[in-house]
């Protein structure tokens, strides 16, 4: 999906050697013009306006007019755009066993750039159906059963979904044996049937369902958000921002030397997203035993209770142990209450800035710890054995912080404040990076570089790596 030209050759429509990347966020709409010459991408200019929620294209038109004023190259060059505005892409995931198909459904939806509104395991109940209607998701991702496996839950859940009052898109990516049943039974919906996300327990297969989710976003969901109006302006369809970033992380890790193993922490007002690439320990099945489906090449996790503004109170509550002492917790609780009332709040005093730094450190530490896998040593009559779950980040060499706050904060200051837990509540070792380099996404260019990479993958990835590294030098 989202194929990027591996040769790195410019697409035919960008022969004028420049590109304008636009990202519509929930609060800010950002745009940047990049020049592209001899395989090197450079930032020309970056502009920002508040997102025009009532009509998203309005802000984009304003930015384009600003960039194009007196600049013939900006008038000619292609525009490429992503969006996470108006709630982004809301997905409800349904699976059977929480650690198997439901875990895969969640991971698949996140890798497709979705916001997981809720997940349901085993049988959907009447109450669950009402809950889905109350959420009003864009897409229900219905999974369950390996190929030739469980049918009962899938049958029941298809029947229950027909009782929805709303009409979300449904992507069926469960047991192949039940595909026809699902297609027939859910005839009243717009249903896309894809290959199973977990055809057998050891073989995750997220790509067909990801492609289906992306296609629905482009074909239908952009319309509801007023984004289809932009299609005539852009060289490629408007895509969900996290999907563009996910593909960018994948390309960066495979194309730029020294970046094969890295983490990206995107700290926002409401959520903290973590992406990791190139992680993993090879389990030999004897001394190291891997439990659960094998981790994907790029893993994205989203923490809805860790954020700098809207989620600040939840973050302080979740990360009490990060500070430990009651006086600091009380101080942070009061800070969180103040800033959560105003998502656009910017720290005014040094004291406020210090509290924001502490909050950011707690969010980054918490989100990385939840993202990382776990390992525990088990003593058996045959000797010690390591039982591994999830992604092993110990080999990660670089961690990049992005999002408004981390972009503006000295990474060395943040590094001193961040302390990563060695063990979790169950006394398992947390597989976190060991002494990584900490970089920041200065000037908050990540989503713009990621969009530029849709036209110039190699040049944009190399430019990003330089941009991030340059700050640390």
């Amino acid at each position: 999906m989202n194929p990027m030209d591996p040769s790195g050759a410019p697409a035919p429509h960008s022969a004028d050697n420049s590109v304008i990347a636009v990202d519509i966020g929930s609060t800010w709409t950002k745009a940047a013009q990049f020049s592209h010459q001899k395989g090197i991408l450079e930032l020309v200019r970056r502009v920002t306006v508040p997102t025009t929620v009532s009509h998203l294209p309005k802000g984009v038109h304003e930015l384009l007019a600003e960039l194009r004023r007196g600049s013939p190259t900006a008038t000619e060059c292609p525009v490429i755009c992503s969006s996470s505005a108006k709630g982004g892409l809301s997905v409800v995931a349904v699976g059977i066993v929480p650690d198997l198909t439901l875990a895969m459904a969640r991971q698949t939806a996140l890798s497709a750039g979705a916001r997981i509104s809720r997940v349901f395991a085993y049988e959907l109940t009447e109450e669950d159906v009402r809950a889905i209607d109350a959420i009003g998701p864009d897409i229900v991702l219905l999974t369950g059963g390996t190929d030739g496996g469980n049918r009962e839950y899938v049958e029941r859940n298809c029947r229950m979904l027909t009782r929805l009052a709303g009409r979300p898109h449904i992507v069926y990516a469960g047991n192949r044996t039940m595909a026809e049943f699902a297609a027939n039974h859910l005839g009243g919906f717009s249903v896309v049937v894809t290959d199973n996300i977990l055809p057998d327990l050891d073989t995750p297969n997220p790509e067909p369902a990801r492609a289906a989710i992306r296609a629905i976003f482009i074909r239908s969901i952009t319309h509801g958000k007023g984004l289809d109006e932009l299609r005539s302006l852009t060289a490629e369809p408007v895509e969900p921002t996290p999907l563009v970033v996910y593909e960018f992380v994948r390309t960066l890790s495979t194309s730029v030397p020294g970046w094969s193993r890295f983490c990206l922490v995107d700290l926002g007002g409401a959520t903290t997203d973590v992406y990791s690439a190139g992680t993993g320990t090879v389990a030999d099945g004897q001394r190291i035993v891997q439990k659960g489906p094998p981790p994907p090449p790029v893993l994205r996790t989203v923490e809805g209770d860790l954020g700098m503004r809207v989620s600040a109170p939840a973050a302080v509550e979740a990360q009490r142990a990060f500070w430990g002492d009651e006086a600091t917790i009380a101080d942070m609780t009061s800070h969180a209450a103040t800033v959560s009332r105003n998502p656009g709040h910017i720290a005014k005093s040094e004291a406020e800035r210090t509290r924001d730094r502490n909050l950011a450190a707690a969010c980054v530490s918490g989100a990385l710890a939840r993202h990382a896998g776990r390992i525990r040593e088990v003593f058996t009559p045959q000797g010690a054995v390591w039982v591994l779950t999830g992604s092993d980040l110990r080999g990660v060499e670089t961690v990049v912080g992005s999002g408004g706050f981390l972009a503006s904060e000295d990474p060395a200051t943040m590094e001193a404040l961040i302390h990563l837990p060695e063990r979790d509540e169950q006394n398992r070792a947390v597989l976190l990076p060991q002494n990584p380099r900490w970089y920041r996404d200065r000037e908050n260019l990540l989503p713009l570089f990621a969009n530029a990479a849709r036209l110039f993958p190699h040049a944009a990835c190399a430019a990003t790596a330089n941009h991030w590294k340059g700050d640390a030098a």
Partner: protein, 145 residues
């Protein structure tokens, strides 16, 4: 005829991997669809896999002598998880020391296992029994309306 799906693994903190591989190869050759979970498998991991794969049977191996602790309550857990009628086999070195095989069988039957096999069981006979048990249990589910 559709192959019967069976879930295979070595329970508890037992990491005897060789016999497990042999069983996987053997039952696959005998026409079963084998979901092999390998070594150090918990009761819930067996049951999770059985639910997702729609398995007819779970085959539990225990080689290291602690099976009595690891295997206790397995049937009850299956009932709690909604697959109470699944076929449960257990085999291996199920107790430490010399015991009357009949006593061992009584012990594991009381835990809810359908068939119990010692370390020297004839695998062909096991496969024949398993095929019969699966066929007897096989009732159409799912799409039939």
């Amino acid at each position: 005829m559709e192959a019967h799906t069976i879930v295979l693994g070595v329970i508890g903190s037992d990491c005897h991997a060789v016999g497990n591989k042999i069983l996987e190869a053997f039952f696959s050759d005998r026409g079963f669809r084998v979901i092999n979970l390998g070594v150090m498998v918990s009761q819930d991991e067996f049951i999770d896999a059985a639910i997702e794969t729609g398995a007819a049977a779970i085959l539990v191996s225990s080689l290291y002598g602690h099976g009595e602790i690891d295997c206790a309550g397995f049937r009850d857990r299956c009932i709690e998880r909604g697959v109470g009628d699944i076929i449960l086999y257990v085999g291996g070195n199920l107790v430490i020391g010399k015991h009357d095989p009949a006593e061992v069988e009584t012990l594991y039957r009381s835990m809810g296992y359908d068939r119990i096999f010692g370390p020297d069981a004839d695998l062909d006979a096991v496969a024949d029994l398993l095929a019969c048990d699966c066929a007897a249990k096989a009732v159409p589910t799912g799409t039939s309306r």
